[in-house]
């Protein structure tokens, strides 16, 4: 177990390295929110999801609804061998298949086109119903941002999934407490997010979104739930790069030469 966790910790470090390398110098990326969800992606790809990158019926479904953090997903897919490093490094290039917001490509593990917020969760419910209709014992995992939950369409979906007890859907909220304009508590306070979702008939599991063991335990618990599950992952925007942490400038920004070197040095020591 210790070895496995060490391996997983190393994976998370590598994914952060991939993010910084693919972003490179003078290329804009939603790096803050990408770094905040790395550990969630590490556990999902390292422990939970099966048959990703294969366009088969029995693949697990992972939907990155906060599509602006595509870079984190590409970085994880590269680390887990689903896409090549060459493909990862086309990020931000003209005509890339791996642009700033995801374009569906199931063979490459990209389940759904995304980028416009509030669309992944309704889509995930459709996927979850389809899996049930086909008697496939699979779950759908949807990663949303806390800022994204400002979008009303999420609440339509949350209301529906709770009412219909769609128990094969797990939503992970990357709750980094920030969004484009800064601190979410200033932009639009949501008060107790967990209580709100719970009121619609969901089970809520709150974890440290940078603790791999807590994340894994949450996904394990969600497997047996008879209602939809929301894992609220408390995270830090820009996690792992001190000058990016909790700094809204890095919601979407470019690195200079110097910032790139500093980021690479730090990324080795994260976790």
């Amino acid at each position: 177990m210790q070895d496995l966790n060490t391996q997983l910790t190393q994976k998370a470090i590598n994914i952060r390295k991939n993010i910084i390398n693919a972003m490179g110098i003078n290329k804009s990326a939603h790096v803050g929110g990408s770094l905040s969800c790395v550990d969630i992606l590490t556990v999902l790809y390292g422990r939970v999801l099966k048959n990703i990158g294969k366009d088969t019926q029995d693949r697990d479904r992972f939907i990155l609804s906060k599509g602006h953090c595509a870079l984190a997903l590409y970085a994880a897919l590269a680390e887990f061998g689903i896409i090549t490093e060459d493909e990862l490094y086309t990020f931000g290039e003209n005509d890339s298949d791996f642009p700033s917001h995801i374009v569906q490509n199931k063979q490459k593990g990209l389940e759904v086109s995304s980028g416009s917020l509030g669309m992944g969760l309704p889509f995930g419910i459709g996927s979850a119903i389809a899996l049930k209709r086909k008697n496939l014992d699979k779950k759908v995992y949807v990663l949303v941002g806390n800022g994204e939950l400002n979008e009303g369409s999420n609440w339509e979906a949350i209301m529906f999934a709770g009412a219909r007890k769609i128990d094969n859907i797990v939503v992970i909220v990357d709750d980094n407490k920030m969004q484009n304009d800064g601190d979410s508590k200033n932009v639009l306070p949501v008060f107790d997010l967990g209580a709100k979702i719970e009121a619609f008939g969901w089970d809520i599991i709150t974890v440290d979104g940078h603790n791999l063991e807590e994340l894994e335990a949450a996904f394990e618990k969600a497997k047996n739930n008879k209602v939809p599950t929301a894992v609220i992952a408390n995270t830090v925007k820009g996690k792992g790069i001190s000058f990016m942490e909790n700094n809204s400038i890095w919601h979407n920004s470019k690195m200079t030469d110097e910032e790139y070197s500093d980021a690479m040095k730090e990324v080795e020591n994260v976790n």
Partner: protein, 320 residues
């Protein structure tokens, strides 16, 4: 469904949304691939029979159009052919972005039926009119846009949409008792317009309920020795450009007629295509003016906008 004069009359009495429900009810689904997702319009879309027979295939999401399209998209992504429905303004506008960025972008197999389009909402007024759905829907890459002329063609459109791979918008208008254009079975193919009469002077290209008016106008014009071609352009996208190529070469005047805004619908689609032809004939676009009109009954609203056979005749006489 056997289409004959008897079924045509039955369909016509229930209006296009009734015909939609009947058509869904009639679809053969041996592989269990059809799903229906509706936003609190099971009754309005006459889907009750289908829902009673196939409760596991019908999802009522309540009044949440964005969620409806998302759920439909997720189902389609897993191989289902999904029919969605709500009233046309909501179907085309409230969830437009979901339709564009999910159904269009991923080319998903979801068919959206916009009920009560055009002025079919009558005294409900502008919030419930479908004035711009053709314009909006045809901007989306991968989208097929259908605009049936009557209840019989609605059945044909639903059948064709079920077999077509990709997103489709079906615009349903007209009210119960709308006179049918098609009283017998006929060949219907997406993208292939139906020519009702072939003339030499004027081509009246109509869609939706205006096909019936165009046919009536054509008869009146024949008596006045004006020879008209009448086209049922039931597919707004992809447009039947092969037919238009011929029409542009052989007619002196084109008149497009639609129960839709003059902006962006059938008239605009024809004009956009016609723009590159140096010697193409003049075109008159008949449709709904660019303003929010005070509400009234269905026939009152059509008359207010000059969407009638006598007015088509008048416009043609003035412009020939």
């Amino acid at each position: 469904m056997l289409i004959n004069s008897e079924t045509t009359a039955q369909l016509s009495r229930m209006s296009s949304r009734g015909a939609f429900g009947e058509a869904i009810n009639d679809i053969k689904d041996p592989d269990n691939k059809i799903m229906v997702v509706a936003a609190d319009v099971i009754n309005s879309a006459r889907l009750n029979n289908y829902a009673e027979r196939n409760p596991e295939k019908v999802i009522n999401v309540g009044i949440s159009e964005q969620n409806m399209i998302g759920i439909a998209a997720g189902l389609a992504n897993d191989g289902y052919t999904v029919f969605c429905s709500t009233f046309a303004p909501f179907a085309s506008m409230r969830c437009f972005e979901q339709i564009r960025s999910q159904l269009g972008y991923m080319n998903l197999n979801v068919k959206v039926a916009g009920l009560l389009s055009g002025f079919a909402g009558g005294t409900f007024g502008n919030t419930h009119y479908g004035l711009e759905d053709l314009a909006i829907m045809r901007t989306i890459p991968n989208m097929t846009v259908l605009s049936p002329a009557d209840c019989t063609e609605t059945v044909k459109a639903v059948q064709a949409a079920a077999e077509h791979n990709g997103p489709v918008y079906i615009r349903l208008t007209g009210v119960p008792g709308q006179p049918p254009v098609y009283k017998e079975d006929f060949a219907y193919k997406i993208g292939k317009a139906i020519v009702h009469s072939e003339g030499t002077d004027v081509a009246i290209i109509a869609t939706g309920t205006m096909v019936y008016e165009a046919i009536r106008a054509s008869r009146a014009l024949t008596k006045k020795e004006i020879s008209t071609t009448v086209v049922d352009m039931h597919t707004i996208k992809p447009l039947d450009t092969e037919l238009l190529d011929k029409i542009f070469k052989t007619h002196k005047l084109i008149v497009t007629v639609e129960e839709h805004s003059k902006i962006g619908g059938l008239g605009a689609a024809v004009a956009e295509y016609k723009a590159v032809f140096p010697d193409a004939p003049k075109q008159i676009i008949m449709g709904i003016p660019d303003e929010f009109l005070k509400a009234g009954s269905y026939t009152y609203m059509l008359a207010k906008c000059g969407l009638s056979a006598p007015n088509i005749v008048k416009i043609i006489q003035e412009n020939i």
